[in-house]
Symmetry: C2
Subunit: 328 residues, 2 copies
Amino acid sequence: MNASESTPKTGKIMLVGLGPGSHDHLTARARAAIAEADTVIGYVTYIRLVADLVEGKEVIKKSMTEELDRAIEALDRARQGKKVALVSSGDAGVYGMAGPTFEVLFQAGWTPDSEIEVEIVPGASALNTCAALVGAPLTHDFCAISLSDLLTPWPTIARRLDAVAYADFVVALYNPKSGRRTQQIVEAQRLFLRHRDPQTPVAIVKSAYRPKQRIEFTTLEKMAEADIGMLTTVLIGNSNTFVRHGLMVTPRGYANKYAVADGERNTHAGEQAGRSLSSGLNGWMATIQASGRTAAELAVDYRLPADYLAAVLATEIPEEGEANEVEA
Amino acid sequence: MNASESTPKTGKIMLVGLGPGSHDHLTARARAAIAEADTVIGYVTYIRLVADLVEGKEVIKKSMTEELDRAIEALDRARQGKKVALVSSGDAGVYGMAGPTFEVLFQAGWTPDSEIEVEIVPGASALNTCAALVGAPLTHDFCAISLSDLLTPWPTIARRLDAVAYADFVVALYNPKSGRRTQQIVEAQRLFLRHRDPQTPVAIVKSAYRPKQRIEFTTLEKMAEADIGMLTTVLIGNSNTFVRHGLMVTPRGYANKYAVADGERNTHAGEQAGRSLSSGLNGWMATIQASGRTAAELAVDYRLPADYLAAVLATEIPEEGEANEVEA
């Protein structure tokens, strides 16, 4: 903000994540932020999701490609001393309005000490809500990749797909396909099939928690043939993910660790709660240091860079503390 | 469920994500699920977050390592016809109780047609809430990696760190460090420094939206020296992420696409809204097919696998549709 501006006022920009869009899944803060706002700005579809909450307010509907315009309108209104809610489905920070808004603010000379306050109201993103509908696919390491090449060069996207397919992440594909972009999902499949089993489970979730919700399970091999559009999120499992009774589940290893039968639990011998696996960092360091093998040989064994293995071979194994630590 | 069981009843298990934990960030459905429950089960810290909502209910507090016990207790109560809320901070599906619960249910013979209903109530995960507090770090592709080697072999974790450091993801590290595990964050730093600038911005967020909340900005080079514990999430930026005025922002490319000055917007020549970059998939396919270069040469240019490039060279470039598509 320009300090010499004629009429300084106190405005506020709230970046509000609506979650999947049904009122049930709005947070109390998201609802209060909209109630507090003088002006509500958003993509037409998002405004429709909260239509009954915006009565009597100034409502500015924008098309999907007008993200910067939304941020500029928000700044304009906030400069007039208004409270503005910029609404997004999912989380405003995940491929959302938070980024473009800060860029517009910075370019306009805004700082957090300016008279305009900025608040981000987090919400569950498509990744979380789609996962909740299909079972428990995100119980292990995961990532999100947008297949839109509107702002990102394809080689960058391809490199990311290749890396995470190799490293066995659960992957959520955002913007997987549009009328204009049909080949990107085919390329994603091609890159994944270089590393993953063709039978890897894939869930296709459209319009989660909305009236037109549709869930389809398929496999990596058939993924590109599925009915996929701009309102779809694609979830690709890792090498342990399975589908049973119409639920997609990625185990964390509990099934191997315990035998559970009809409410009974038995801890396997040598598997004490709160202790690392023997293949945990310390155990692994001890193993490779005692192996007598070279960094180059170990690089092949473990599919890790040789220079990293050389560094680990030269590192003293840390003392492992007591197992009284809580751990998620 | 065993069909011959003596007293079949209708129970329900609700896996409730509390988000960061403050009531402001509970969804309406999360609050209603807890209200509906006869029994509330959770890790002691999570139960404390909703203490005022569980009065008059059966409350079962468990330690962090008793995840399977929590699921077994939930199944036991549901078999008695009770409604059970299994509460987790963040999202119950992200490194949460949803996975172990389905595994316990499957092993006990449960199916979705059984008399016990299962509902997952999604919430904002640590990734979303920490991002909301530090600015807009997740505006581009990101991933989540847990550094806990309790159930995952270290070479698997190391391979993932190496892959995503190389492929320039924004990365959220869950369970980065504990009293017992101090070396994992050092190893993560070592793997990242092989690919990333030592000055890459890193945010350390502790107890987001709770009374003891603390946010620290540092760099990849100094990451391992920061005050990190079990209630901390570590956010590592990508090669474009910057920190300005105490806010961490990952641009999507808007700053390059438009010139924004004091509320004015100018679209640069040749950058029409809704069209791919010339480096988008179709443009890139045209470029490499016209280049006369071999797959092996292109593999070096673009740091992509040669066999993938050979396949792309042999693929017909798809027709690009009209630019009237909405796109996130």
